[in-house]
Amino acid sequence: MSVLFDEPGPKAVRRIRVATVLGTLAVVALAVLAVRQFAANGQLDAARWQPYATWPMWRYLLDGLWSTFLAAVVSAALAMAFGLLLALGRLSPRAWVRGPAAAYVEVVRTIPALLLVYVVLFALPRYGLDLPLFWKLVVPLTVSNAAAYAEIFRAGINSIERGQMEAGLAIGLTRFRAMLLVVLPQAARRVLPSLVSQSVGLLKDTSLGFVVSYGELLYSGKVLAAYNGLLIQTYLVVALIYLVVNMSLSKLARVLEARQSVTLRRRTAGA
């Protein structure tokens, strides 16, 4: 039972029943309204949905999904590596390393990814740097997500007990090696769920390919819709694909989190 309510009595049971009926009715009414709106505008005709029951359409969209994955994986890998460096920089004892790393994270965290995309699209070519389409999407995503990953790593490293680093130093490791061999492996494991949910955010950000004209899922949908004129159908199918993929990834983050709290509990119980 939640903190907010007890086992219902007879009166509460009646109220719950009424609310159940009303809630169900509201959902049904919304669905009916949506279907009527579709039907009234002729968007329910079988001919307008039938294309999405054919393989070539799906193959085209799945190609787009593959490009989405490719962009997401490459920028996640680059952003994580860069983010880790930034986190280590922010925790460095040297001020001339700490300052720039902190400045980067704090500034980039408050700049919209789309603005960075525009910079890469329209500003860099003027200085003779015209990247291929793939990198026009990946570079801004890497730049902006590196700051987010940096904060996750920093929180993870800070959450490791001081004694771990001290023990590393005591057995004669340098600060760098103690960080690399003792602290980081533990920190990485602890922040794994946050890394996965940040990566879901990154995967959502790859939809900026729509602006870049890189053939990821949303842009593929745009091309398809321009070609067959089935606007709402195409975008609904695209949304559905995003939903399924991201929900699976979010689920993975929750499973990882649950597994972790189990291991942590076991460890504390053993100690």
Binding site: T110, L115, G221
Partner: protein, 214 residues
């Protein structure tokens, strides 16, 4: 630098649109978020399911997909509003899922005795949520809500991709005319950073004033 001054009217207009988008959609998200949060913690299973479905759907769909769907898809079934209104509604609906989750973590942080005391004096579920739980939950989540506000500011930039002329779009237009990307984009970025810094300052003050020490 002079390029910024030359085009100050356009950029200023863009900044105003960004601020309008942010303020209106955050206000909408706050109201809707409270409702969704109430659904998610209610004793009625159907309502809980609706709340969960809402949060899951809108946290897992990219905002740009929702904007594209609303701007290019919905007119096909006869649903169309002004572009600014459409953008505000879509961003509000999207951010409401995040507000609801932040509030829910606040509700879970309210100590158990508070809910029990509320029921003991005979308040119904709705009353105890409204007068006892939510006021305390809100105070514990000032910082997360501030972060959502900053995220909302940055997300409003996506409206530029579907034709709203906000600060990002204005900067881009001025750059296409003047071809001086560095001052223009740095200026726009600085404006966003300023809004975020201001929001951070305000939430910091609010939190110090509202926080409940236990």
């Amino acid at each position: 630098m002079s390029v910024l001054l030359d085009h100050l009217p356009e950029l200023w207009q863009g900044l105003i649109v960004t601020i309008q988008l942010t303020a209106a959609s955050f206000a909408g998200a706050a109201v809707l978020g409270v409702v969704v949060c109430a659904l998610r913690v209610s004793p009625v299973r159907v309502l809980r399911a609706i709340g969960t479905a809402y949060v899951e759907a809108f946290q897992n769909l990219p905002l740009l997909v929702l904007l594209v769907l609303a701007f290019f898809g919905l007119p096909e079934i006869g649903l169309q509003a002004g572009i600014l209104t459409t953008a505000i509604i879509v961003i509000a609906v999207y951010e409401a899922a995040y507000v609801a989750e932040a509030l829910r973590s606040g509700v879970n942080a309210v100590s158990k005795g508070q809910g029990e005391a509320a029921r003991a004096i005979g308040l119904t579920f709705g009353q105890s949520l409204r007068y006892v739980i939510l006021p305390q939950a809100l105070r514990t989540v000032v910082q997360p809500l501030g972060n959502i506000f900053i995220a909302t500011t940055m997300n409003t930039a996506l409206a530029a991709a579907v034709g709203v002329v906000d600060l990002t779009a204005a900067a881009n237009r001025v750059n296409l005319v003047e071809a001086q990307p560095i001052p223009i984009f740095v200026g726009a970025g600085a404006a966003y950073a300023l809004i975020a810094a201001l929001a951070g300052f305000v939430t910091g003050r609010l939190e110090r004033r509202l926080v409940i020490l236990r």
